[in-house]
């Protein structure tokens, strides 16, 4: 695995994979969206059930992205590998984006279902905090000028966050049960039938592939930018 961590080999390999990955993403989105719109309306939620197909996968990928970022940070800290730092850095804005998407689609779904755009429900609240963690991580990266220092500081913050996330999740769940009982609306509900499961899973894979496609594009851009900067420095010297 670390053989491909060489930026040069990464550029070669990712350059070859990227078109295929992009095509697979587009294809799965096409199938997933087709299935989402041809699925019958839910007997309770009606057509709003379709929001779930873009909402739930976004939430999954938002969480996966944080896990990925923390893992890359750990590898970056321990193995001191610049590519892992780049991966962690570029995963953060994507994670923030998917988190925001999950929050927005969730509140759009909440309006017809709960009658309000926002409730201080356990999942919503912990996602809002996840968004803040992402923003903090990005802000820390941007605030420190020295790239090596920024990478390490951000990695430490990501790891502190990953240790703290389950505790935040737990405390928020605990808090919502203390203050209100509305979260039952989220938990129970009828078991998902296969007509909804297929579009959901297709969309989940499509979202995951989209994350990795965008991640590779962003990583390549970052590496090229760094090269360009080095070249410019060499030319001016």
């Amino acid at each position: 695995m670390f053989g491909y961590a060489n930026p040069k080999r990464f550029m070669e390999l990712s350059g070859r994979i990227l078109p295929w990955l992009g095509a697979a993403t587009a294809l799965l989105f096409a199938i997933g969206l087709y299935l989402s719109f041809t699925a019958p309306p839910d007997y309770q939620q009606g057509d709003t059930v379709r929001i779930m197909f873009i909402h739930v996968p976004a939430a999954w990928v938002a969480m996966m992205a944080y896990g990925f970022m923390a893992l890359a940070s750990l590898i970056g800290l321990i193995n001191r590998h610049p590519l892992a730092d780049v991966a962690a850095k570029q995963a953060a804005p994507l994670g923030a984006l998917f988190t925001a998407l999950a929050l927005i689609t969730g509140s759009l779904w909440g309006r017809p279902m709960w009658g309000t755009y926002w409730v201080w429900d356990g999942r919503l609240t912990s996602f809002l905090l996840l968004l803040f963690l992402y923003l903090g991580y990005i802000a820390l990266w941007n605030a420190i000028e020295n790239e090596v220092r920024a990478a390490k500081a951000a990695a430490i913050f990501a790891l502190v966050g990953v240790v703290n996330l389950p505790i935040i999740e737990f405390s928020v769940q605990w808090w919502t049960t203390l203050h209100q009982g509305e979260s039952i609306l989220l938990k129970g509900g009828p078991l998902i039938s296969a007509v909804f499961l297929w579009p959901l899973f297709t969309m989940a894979i499509a979202y995951t592939l989209l994350f990795f496609t965008l991640l590779i594009v962003r990583m390549r851009t970052e590496i090229l930018e760094r090269r360009a900067r080095t070249l410019a420095l060499g030319a001016s010297a």
Partner: protein, 221 residues
């Protein structure tokens, strides 16, 4: 006097003398709490319900005030480099500074809190829960804040970045701290104080190591 005690004493002295952060943090705490009734209205029933939460949020905010200078002042004038050369480990430096921060902000806030609780019309049975929860919880604020302060050491406007880093991480403290007060008012035992204690112990135990790692990376070059 050991190096640890010397550093602790020095930081406490710096924070409590003229121009130090301790009194300012207390004044800020009082000011925030005073502002709340103007925002939400002076109805006593309402204030009773929110008193614990308001005091907890204000305590967290007041703690933030002194945090950005925790390591930065020493970093800028070079004392941190000298400290790094001292027999004290980075973990020891971080622990001493976090402890000094708590002694000069967390502890005074806790002592002041009953007076402010009086203004917010907290019923008598809530006072012990409030003071105990602040006493247990504020070290966690200093500890997690200390980590963030060490991370933002070299950032010129670190004070602006700090709240963004710290506040999401401190949610459990606020939830359990304010929850403990509310539980006491409602006469229920939901274990909030134990969760708060567990979080605080873990945070205080781990923070010096994480903060030390952050200090090391900022001083290495």
């Amino acid at each position: 006097m050991s190096a640890f005690a010397a550093l602790l004493a020095r930081d406490v002295r710096l924070a409590t003398r003229a121009g130090g952060s301790a009194v300012l943090a207390l004044a800020f705490f009082a000011a925030v709490v005073t502002l709340v009734p103007f925002g939400i209205g002076s109805e006593t029933g309402l204030l009773t319900r929110v008193a614990g939460g308001v005091l907890w949020v204000a305590a967290v905010l007041a703690n933030l005030l002194a945090l950005d200078r925790l390591f930065q002042a020493d970093y800028e004038d070079g004392s941190l480099d000298l400290l790094a050369l001292s027999p004290l480990s980075f973990e020891g430096i971080a622990a001493a500074k976090i402890m000094a921060h708590w002694l000069t902000t967390g502890l005074p806030l806790t002592i002041l809190s009953p007076i402010l609780a009086l203004l917010l019309n907290l019923p008598q049975r809530g006072y012990v829960a409030l003071v105990v929860s602040l006493l247990i919880g504020t070290p966690a604020i200093s500890a997690i804040g200390g980590v963030a302060a060490a991370l933002t050491l070299s950032v010129r406007r670190g004070g602006l970045l700090l709240p963004l880093l710290v506040l999401p991480l401190l949610t459990p403290v606020v939830i359990f701290g304010a929850g403990a007060v509310l539980a006491k008012l409602d006469g229920i035992d939901n274990g909030a104080i134990w969760f708060l204690a567990a979080f605080s112990v873990a945070a205080v135990a781990l923070a010096p190591f994480v903060a030390a790692a952050a200090l090391r990376l900022n001083l290495s070059e």
